[in-house]
């Protein structure tokens, strides 16, 4: 993991001192809320329905056990004993007090964490594949470049007042777990024929009220030119992006207006001028940062645990299910990647209480070299677990209630905080997630249904990624009542697509039965080996419409 040096520490402490002065000026009345708002929003502090919410960055989803313990401490000391992991691999504290925030930031800085730019019209937390450096299918580890971008984008003097927020995501695997096509800039790493790494650069993807799949602006970018090319994209956006309408201010709108070819010309003209500037990534800095991501001290040639693992899986069906859904292949033989599901009955998706954070940190130290990852599907990952210890770990997780074997399945629901917290929401998304989870408690049924992503947003801002859920649910307001609009066929991976609207919005009570009807239709139509998404793409939306709304005639009557 990356560790701060003296410069990183100094910058964060100077920023925190500046913010402390700003909070003092707010509290003693020198600044009113209107004047203070832009200042707090540069530092992740939102005023929500009931309280201030502080969003803390987890850079590219990577946490040490020490950092997780610090988050537990903050949850316990300054919040109501919990935090919520978000779709941007961050964590939000929902009940903080304004006067405590400078102390919270200072505590975070002790563990090399910040809330800088977790909101505001600037480059937000850099996100990346949660299995970076560990996945068996990975070509290049994107963490080194994620860290270079984190530093480059932090308190950028020119790009701190962009037209709108700006999100960058990276993946170094062919299977895209970071949804890079749904970001303002998406970076896909490839290897060329000489085995050297480079980036395919996508631009103009995003969700919100105008969802767009990103377009390739450059097929191949050498790593040394990463920062200058990103700077060229940002400079063109800063000058050309629309500022007349907040809903048309993201880069996707200007890319669509100008066309990707024109946008590329503008970027290339600018890039030509700056590519050989001081932005060039030096080999010394690349080496320095890379050293922080050296592999942990794996045990060479672990004894083959597969026979024992097979035996335990045969004996214990729940363990078997968990291995099938929550455990992923590791690039080092004898090790596994383990997912901890934060989708449990009775708890909002992504929520974790302080004691559980401490317990996960403990397990990370014992089983996984002290490293934890946060996924954009609001779960946690232990990156390096010896296969011979999987059973023991599973039992420990089960005691904590963190062994739900539903990763990638229907109840692994992404949900925004919704109207329970958020001042923008039209509808409460957490209770809908809860209804669906209660409806689908049969683990064998869930396993039968298999891979299916279900994403819920409480309003059209789409924080719950409903556009790219295989099943998407969007909360809408109809004459003061909450309704839910379903979409089908969305995906956020390398085959990214936007969901199609199914039909009229449903009342909350109708949603679980509608999901049931969709699932049954899929099961009756699927061919061998087809996932829900494959079947949907083959048969189209009609059979699902009929299943949910009935025959066209009765629909008209209703």
């Amino acid at each position: 993991m990356y560790r701060y040096d003296e410069f990183d520490h100094r910058l964060v402490s100077e920023r925190n001192a500046q913010f402390r002065r700003q909070v003092e000026r707010r509290l003693n009345g020198e600044l009113n809320e209107d004047q203070f708002k832009p200042l707090r929003l540069m530092n992740g502090l939102y005023l929500q329905l009931h309280a201030y919410m502080l969003r803390v960055n987890v850079p590219y989803g990577t946490l040490s056990s020490e950092q997780l313990r610090k988050l537990a401490h903050i949850a316990r000391t300054y919040d109501r004993d919990f935090g919520q992991f978000t779709t941007r691999q961050n964590i939000q504290f929902n009940w903080v007090k304004l006067e405590d925030t400078p102390d919270i930031l200072e505590a975070l800085a002790e563990a090399e964490m910040t809330a800088i730019q977790s909101s505001g019209n600037c480059v937000r937390n850099i996100t990346a594949d949660q299995y970076a450096g560990r996945a068996r299918d990975e070509l290049v580890d994107p963490r080194v470049y994620s860290e270079l971008l984190r530093q480059y984008s932090l308190l950028h003097p020119e790009f701190s007042y962009l037209p709108r927020k700006f999100k960058i995501a990276l993946t170094g695997s062919p299977h895209d777990r970071a949804a890079v096509a749904l970001h303002d800039i998406g970076l896909r790493m490839h290897l060329n024929e000489a085995g050297e790494p480079g980036f395919e650069v996508l631009v103009g993807g995003g969700q919100g009220r105008t969802p767009v799949i990103g377009k390739t602006i450059r097929e191949w970018l050498e790593p040394e030119n990463l920062l200058s090319y990103v700077e060229a994209i940002l400079r063109v956006y800063n000058m050309q992006g629309r500022r007349d309408n907040i809903h048309k201010a993201r880069i996707k709108i200007i890319v669509n207006q100008l066309g990707i070819d024109r946008y590329r010309e503008l970027v290339d003209d600018e890039w030509e001028r700056i590519r050989d500037s001081r932005l060039k990534v030096s080999p010394e800095e690349l080496d320095r940062v890379s050293a922080h991501f050296a592999p942990p001290p794996y045990t060479d040639l672990l004894p083959d645990a597969s026979a024992e693992l097979e035996r335990l899986r045969a004996e214990e069906p729940a363990f078997d299910r968990w291995c099938a859904t929550n455990v992923e292949e590791h690039k080092v033989p004898g090790y596994s990647i383990v997912n901890l599901s934060l989708k449990r009955l009775g708890r909002p998706p992504g929520d974790l209480d302080a004691d559980s954070m401490d317990a996960v940190a403990e397990l990370a130290d014992r089983y996984s070299f002290g490293e934890v990852r946060v996924t954009h599907r609001q779960n946690l990952v232990l990156t390096d677990v010896e296969q011979r210890e999987l059973f023991e770990l599973w039992r420990a997780l089960d005691v904590l209630g963190l062994a739900s074997s539903n990763i990638g399945q229907l109840t692994d629901i992404i949900s925004c905080p919704g109207l329970d917290y958020c001042s923008l929401a039209n509808a409460r998304s957490i209770p809908v997630a809860e209804d669906i989870s209660r409806h689908f408690v049969d683990v064998d049924k869930l396993a039968l249904v298999g891979d299916l992503t279900l994403n819920i947003s409480g309003c059209m801002n789409a924080c719950g990624h409903h556009h790219v859920g295989n099943i998407g649910i969007l909360g809408v307001d109809k004459r003061g009542e909450e309704f839910f609009q379903l979409t089908l066929g969305g995906a956020s991976d390398e085959g990214a697509s936007l969901g199609d609207r199914l039909g009229r919005a449903l009342a909350q009570a109708e949603v679980p039965a509608a999901i049931e009807a969709i699932v049954e239709t899929y099961l009756s139509l699927r061919m061998d080996g087809e996932r829900f998404l494959d079947t949907y793409r083959r048969v189209g939306i009609e059979p699902f419409k009929q299943a949910v709304y009935g025959e066209p005639a009765s629909r008209a009557a209703a």
Binding site: L11, Q18, E158, N238
Partner: protein, 163 residues
């Protein structure tokens, strides 16, 4: 009441802002709009007194790229502090067009932004403040380290690491 800060210190305003219809005051230094500059370019360059142009945030510097040798000041307007286009304009003026004259931040300029503005090439600021010199100094002291190269040539953290 706004105070002009130039090169880090309060400074007397020596330029007069001229509206679209205003007469040009004889012998005085003036700052004009882009439209006025275009309409009156010859008179403005031949008369006594320095001339500056004030660009709105939708008027990029390429519109005056050919004229910069005649301009003692380019004033960049912040219609609202959120409108960050002029950060890029200032940088392009310095780095792409090699402009060495005064680049002045005018309009809705927050103290919190001064540090960034200096780093992208502004060297003059119209500030609303009861103690502009003190505020400017505090803002400059906000940060002693940064990751990005600016137009000021000062070393970045990355460069300092490998000294």
């Amino acid at each position: 009441m706004k105070t002009l800060i130039r090169n880090g210190a309060p400074s007397d305003e020596t330029f007069v802002s001229i509206g679209a219809e205003d007469e040009l005051p004889a012998g005085m230094d003036v700052i004009v709009t882009l439209d006025r500059w275009r309409a009156d370019r010859d008179r403005l360059t031949q008369r006594e007194g320095l001339v500056g142009v004030r660009l709105q945030s939708d008027e990029p510097p390429e519109l005056i790229a050919e004229d910069l040798e005649h301009l003692a000041v380019v004033a960049l307007e912040f219609p609202a502090f959120r409108d960050g286009r002029a950060y890029s304009y200032a940088r392009l003026l310095r780095e792409q067009y090699g402009y060495a004259g005064e680049i002045r931040a005018v309009g809705d300029v927050l103290l919190e932004q001064l540090h960034f503005m200096v780093r992208v090439g502004f060297d003059a600021f119209e500030l609303s403040s009861s103690d502009p010199k003190r505020d400017f100094e505090i803002a400059q002291a906000d940060f002693s380290v940064w990751y990005q190269p600016g137009v000021d040539e000062r070393d970045t953290a990355i460069e300092l690491r490998h000294r």
